[in-house]
Amino acid sequence: MIEADFHLALPGFSLETHIVLPSRGVTALFGPSGSGKSTLLRCIAGLLKPQYGKLIVNGEVWQDASHFMPPHRRPVGMVFQDAALFPHLSVQQNLDYGAKRSRSKASGTDNLIELLGISHLLQRRTDALSGGEKQRVGIARALFSAPKMLLLDEPLAALDAQRKAELLPYLDQLHQQLDIPVVYVSHAPEEVARLADYIVQLGEGRVIRSGGAIDIFPALLHPLSQEEGVFTLLVGTIELHDTNDYLTQVSIGAHRLWVRYINRPIGSQVRLRLLARDVSLSLDPGVRESSILNTLQTEIATLEETAPGRTLVRLTLNEGPALLSRITTRSARALRLQPGQQVYAQIKGVAPME
C-alpha cells in the first residue's frame, strides 16, 4: 500500500491531496493540465519538497513531517514526458547510469531490452532516436535502476498519434509483466482506459475521486461528455473464437458481444471501448434485417442534453456498469425515451483496447 499526503502552496496553485494507492498494478493520475497530476508525481519522486508531505511506501517512510528522503535515495524509476535522456551518453550508457548507482540489481534486463525492442539502438547516440524510441529507452533506463515504483509523467504526450500507437503495446506488455506499482500521469481517457487498474482523478490540485478503474471510469467521463469521442469502457472475458469469420465473443456479465478477433486465449480478460456515437437505441429487438451484430437489452438510467440537439443516454447493463449512447434529441423525443424504460442498444462498433 502506498499512502501519499501532500500539501504544497505555489504562487497561483496549491496541491492538497491525500491518496492511498494499491502496491500492484497501474494507477493513473488523471485530470486536465493544471490539475496538479504532474506536481503530485514530482512530490512522490522527491523532486518537489512540499510544505507538508507524508509518503509511506509498503510500510517504509519516505517522507513525513520530520524526515525528507532526497530523490536520489528513493528507489523510484521516473519516465519524463520527452524522455530526458542524457545527450552526452550513448543509449547503453544511459541505461547503465541508473543501474550502476542502484543498490539492488535489476533482474531480467536483457529481457527488458528485448521487450522494449531497443536492442538495435544500444550503441546509438540519443539524438539519433525517434520520439518513440527515446521514450522506450527512457522506460528501460528507469527500470534498469531496479526501482520499487515506476513513475511515468505523460510518456505519450509528446508523441504523434502514430508513435503513440507504436508505444502503447509496449506499455501493455509492461503492465502485464511488472510486479511493482506504476503511477501513470495522463490527461487522455483512451490511455487511462487501456492501462489503468486504479484511477485518481484530480482537478485544481484536489482529488475529485479515486477507485478501481472499472468502477470509476463511467463517472470520469461526465465532464468529458461534451466531447465527440466520449466512450464507455467495459471489461469482459473471452468466451469463444470464430476463426471463420475472424470474430471473438466476449461476455460482460450476462451479455455477449461479438468483436473483431482478439489473439488471446479463451478466458482472458479484455477491455472494450464503445464510442457513445456508435450506440443507437431501438424500442424493439427486430434487428434480424440489419448488419449490426450486437444488440443488448438495457434500461435507461438518465437522459441529458449535452449539446444543442444532442442527447447523451446513460444505460445500465444488468445492474452493472453504465453504457453511454449519444443520439439526437429529436430521436429521444420521437421514441418518448425516459428513465426506467427498457430499450435495445444497437452497437455499431466495439473495439478491444489490447
Binding site: A45, L47, H72, M78, A84, F86, H88, Y97, S102
Partner: protein, 228 residues
C-alpha cells in the same frame, strides 16, 4: 624570426602566467559559476556584478587597489609579513593573483552561461537514477557544459596573455620575473626599437587570431534544431 633571449624569457613567462591563471580560475571559478547558475538568492545580482567588474574597470584601477591591498600597509601585505612569506607586489605570485582577478569574468561568465543552458530535467533524471548532488555535478553538469569549459579556458588564457595595465601596476618590469610580452613590446616602443616591437607584436596578433579561430571552429554557437 629572431627573438632575443629577453624575448624568449618574456614569452615563457607569459605562457606560464596564462596557464597557471587559467588553471586556478577554472578550479575556483567553476564552483562560483555553478552557484551563480543555480542560486535563487536575492544576493545573486550583487555577486554577478562583482564578477563582471574587471570587464569595465580600467586595469590601472584594479592594479592600484591590488597594490594597496598587497602593499606593506594593506591587509594582505601585513598577513604575508606575519607569515613571513614575503611581499606580493613586483613578484610572480602577485602577478598571478592580479591576473586571476583581471580575467575572472572571462572564465566565470562562459561557465555560468553553459550551466544555465542545461535543461533542469537532466538533473532531475539523474536524481531519480540515484545520483547524489555531487555525482550529478560531475556526471551531468560538467560533461554537458564542456563547450563552456573550452570557451572559458581559451578566453581566460588569451585575456591573460593580453594583459598590460595591471602588470605594469603590480609587477613592474622585472626581467625573468614579471616582464611579460606585452610589457616587453612597450619597452621596445619606448626605446624606439620598432623592428623588435614588430616581431613580438606580430606574434601576439597571430597568436590571438589562431586561438579565437580555433575556439569558434571547435565550439560553434549551436543553432537549436527545430523540435522533431
Amino acid at each position: 624570426m629572431n627573438f632575443t633571449p629577453q624575448d624568449w624569457s618574456a614569452i615563457r613567462l607569459t605562457l606560464e602566467l596564462a596557464s597557471l591563471t587559467t588553471l586556478l580560475l577554472i578550479l575556483f571559478g567553476t564552483p562560483v559559476a555553478w552557484w551563480l547558475s543555480r542560486t535563487t538568492s536575492r544576493t545573486k545580482p550583487l555577486f554577478v556584478s562583482l564578477v563582471a567588474m574587471p570587464l569595465v574597470l580600467p586595469p590601472s584601477v584594479i592594479g592600484f587597489y591590488l597594490l594597496v591591498f598587497m602593499g606593506p600597509n594593506g591587509p594582505l601585505g601585513q598577513l604575508m609579513d606575519q607569515l613571513g612569506i614575503g611581499r606580493l607586489p613586483f613578484s610572480f605570485g602577485g602577478l598571478l593573483l592580479a591576473s586571476c582577478i583581471y580575467s575572472l569574468p572571462f572564465v566565470v561568465q562562459p561557465l555560468q552561461n553553459a550551466f544555465e543552458a542545461i535543461d533542469e530535467r537532466m538533473y532531475e533524471a539523474a536524481a531519480t537514477l540515484r545520483a547524489s548532488p555531487l555525482d550529478r555535478f560531475f556526471t551531468v553538469a560538467v560533461p554537458l557544459a564542456k563547450p563552456g569549459f573550452l570557451t572559458a579556458a581559451v578566453l581566460g588564457f588569451a585575456h591573460t596573455v593580453g594583459e598590460f595595465g595591471v602588470v605594469l601596476m603590480i609587477g613592474g618590469n622585472i626581467p625573468d620575473k614579471t616582464r611579460v610580452v606585452s610589457v616587453q613590446i612597450y619597452d621596445y616602443v619606448e626605446a624606439l626599437e620598432y623592428s623588435e616591437a614588430h616581431r613580438l607584436a606580430a606574434l601576439m596578433l597571430v597568436f590571438s587570431f589562431i586561438v579565437l579561430f580555433l575556439l569558434y571552429t571547435l565550439n560553434p554557437t549551436k543553432k537549436k534544431a527545430p523540435a522533431a
